[in-house]
């Protein structure tokens, strides 16, 4: 957003305080520049929710989640914080039906998919997965077709689109994200940032109502990170993002939760102004 340009003669460590103070001024208290009107009406069931989830990995004595609850409502843009191993990713995997909790409920638009009283089948999660797109932490896990176009078209094809429709959707999605002409590129030869964006295109091509993103800014250079922020602002009205990147969360989310002691709580610290100094200030660069 703010660009720190410095006189060419300053080869010394450079103080970015001015840029940062300005940048975070409006981020303070109101992290997102465009506050969303939440549909906080509790009468309409959330798009997806977990309730009172208890989960322990097999072979582990310590439970990861102890009574965690989370609801994803249309229009909400949630940042999910928590230190490594606190169970953030586990929570999302439970929500998507990739893991089954020992107790607790998973709901899709108020319909229980996992609960004490019913036996859950893989097929139960199909409607939820259609509406909620999940971006994996590691894009290599997600891209598996030889070419970009095939990968982006994979979801639409699975959901019954004809090859022509799937191709059209895939090409339109790539163009929307600024990757027109990438269709015939070989996926495993893309750069890390490109892989992340193509994986995102593959999720967006399924036209989900909401996105779950697991540490999307890992390994992204500042330019690609800015691009991701712009794409999320333009195309993602509802999402939940796991990240340790406070600055990124401040730009993309308007409410913040944290996973602590196996439960989800409202985050006590919100993004704040900070001042930092670093070398390389004479190189043209961006700050979030």
């Amino acid at each position: 957003m703010s660009t720190a340009t410095t006189p060419p003669n300053s080869g010394q460590p450079h103080n970015c305080a001015h840029a940062h103070a300005h940048d975070h001024a409006h981020g303070h208290g109101h992290p997102h520049p465009h506050p969303h009107s939440h549909s906080d009406d509790d009468a309409t069931p959330p798009l997806a929710a977990v309730q009172d989830i208890h989960f322990t990995y097999s072979g582990s004595a310590e439970p990861v989640l102890r009574g965690a609850s989370l609801a994803l409502r249309p229009g909400r843009r949630i940042g999910l914080l928590g230190h490594n191993g606190s169970g953030k990713s586990t929570l999302l995997h439970l929500l998507m039906g990739l893991l089954r909790p020992q107790s607790g409920r998973v709901l899709h638009r108020g319909v229980p998919l996992v609960s004490e009283t019913r036996k859950t089948r893989e097929a139960d999660f199909v409607p939820l997965r259609r509406e909620v797109g999940f971006l994996f932490q590691n894009s290599d896990d997600q891209l598996f077709c030889p070419t970009v176009l095939e990968d982006v078209a994979f979801g639409p094809l699975n959901h019954g689109a004809s090859p022509a429709e799937a191709r059209a959707v895939a090409e339109a999605t790539l163009e929307r994200l600024g990757f027109a002409g990438f269709g015939s590129r070989v996926t495993h030869r893309l750069s890390g940032g490109e892989k992340k964006m193509i994986a995102l295109a593959a999720v967006l091509a399924m036209q989900p109502q909401a996105l779950l993103l697991d540490e999307p800014t890992n390994d992204l250079d500042p330019h690609t990170r800015d691009r991701l922020i712009a794409i999320l602002a333009a195309h993602s009205p509802t999402h939940l993002i796991i990240s340790h990147d406070w600055d990124f969360l401040a730009h993309t989310c308007d409410s913040f939760l944290t996973v602590q002691d196996g439960a989800v709580r409202t985050a006590t610290h919100t993004p704040h102004t900070h001042v930092h100094t670093h070398t390389g200030g004479d190189v043209h660069h961006h700050h979030g």
């Binding site: 997965r129 797109g133 896990d141």
Partner: protein
């Protein structure tokens, strides 16, 4: 990483429907494998080479691929000439000059004409089949071959097994390279000591465990995108109008070679 160098190209064979090519390759392989005399086998080899020429495959890579196959054939040449009865061509030993305890009288090997003919036949046939498969099956990428297998009416499970084996090979190779680099940057140089063996054993274990984990995550990602056990092709294999004719011609050639091979002794030809 693992590459499919022969699948890229624009020759007539590259453009042909992979189903037709697969059927032709299979028929050719069966016919070639049944040949019993060197004449038709040599013709089969010529046919294979002609197909490769037609596909305009890069010669150095093709020769390297053939060399790999002929390592196995070389082992046959070590044993086969000496293990069939026939007129002796070459005799190694006994060695009267050497003391008896080093080279006893019975230590001798005799290569026979029948043995050499057999080894030659195997060499001709195996190279013919490999060339034909490279020219026919190798000119489509593995995804197209997988789909062709499914569309030929073979069980979906077999096609999926083929596709996933290929995909998983990449994953395993990647993990191995990553670990090897990690070991190298920490100063590991392989030798012939216990440390080396232990390191390699650990690496093999880690490759397996990590590949398993990754396979699990790839599977999850696929399920999240609605995969339910069936691959859908984005591009229906286009094919050309003459593909069936092309396959028929190749199959007929192979059948003709086999017929010649069978009829040869009946006609009293050498």
């Amino acid at each position: 990483m693992l590459d499919e160098p022969f699948s890229r190209g624009a020759s007539r064979l590259h453009l042909a429907d992979p189903r037709c090519k697969l059927v032709a390759a299979l028929a050719f392989a069966v016919c070639a494998a049944l040949l019993r005399s060197p004449g038709p086998a040599a013709l089969a080899l010529l046919t294979g080479a002609a197909l490769c020429l037609w596909a305009r495959l890069p010669l150095p890579r093709l020769l390297r691929r053939l060399a790999a196959v002929n390592v196995f054939v070389a082992f046959l040449w070590l044993f086969l000439p000496f293990s069939l009865p026939g007129a002796p061509l070459l005799r190694i030993g006994p060695f009267p000059g050497l003391p008896d305890w080093l080279a006893p009288n019975w230590l001798s090997l005799t290569a026979t004409d029948a043995g050499v003919a057999q080894a030659l036949l195997v060499t001709l046939k195996s190279n013919a089949i490999v060339l034909a498969f490279i020219a026919l099956a190798g000119t489509s990428d593995i995804t197209a071959v997988g789909h062709a297998v499914a569309r030929l009416g073979l069980p979906d499970k077999l096609a999926l097994l083929l596709l996933f084996t290929w995909r998983q090979l990449h994953v395993v190779a990647q993990e191995y390279h990553r670990l090897r680099t990690a070991a190298k940057v920490r100063g590991f140089t392989p030798g012939t000591d216990l440390h080396t063996y232990r390191t390699y054993a650990n690496m093999a274990g880690m490759v397996l465990v990590r590949s398993f984990d990754r396979a699990e995550r790839v599977g999850q990602a696929m399920r999240l995108r609605g995969f339910a056990g069936r691959f859908h092709m984005l591009a229906e294999p286009a094919g050309r109008p003459g593909d069936r004719l092309l396959a028929a011609v190749i199959i007929l050639c192979a059948a003709a070679l086999l017929a010649a091979d069978i009829l040869q002794p009946l006609a009293g030809l050498p």
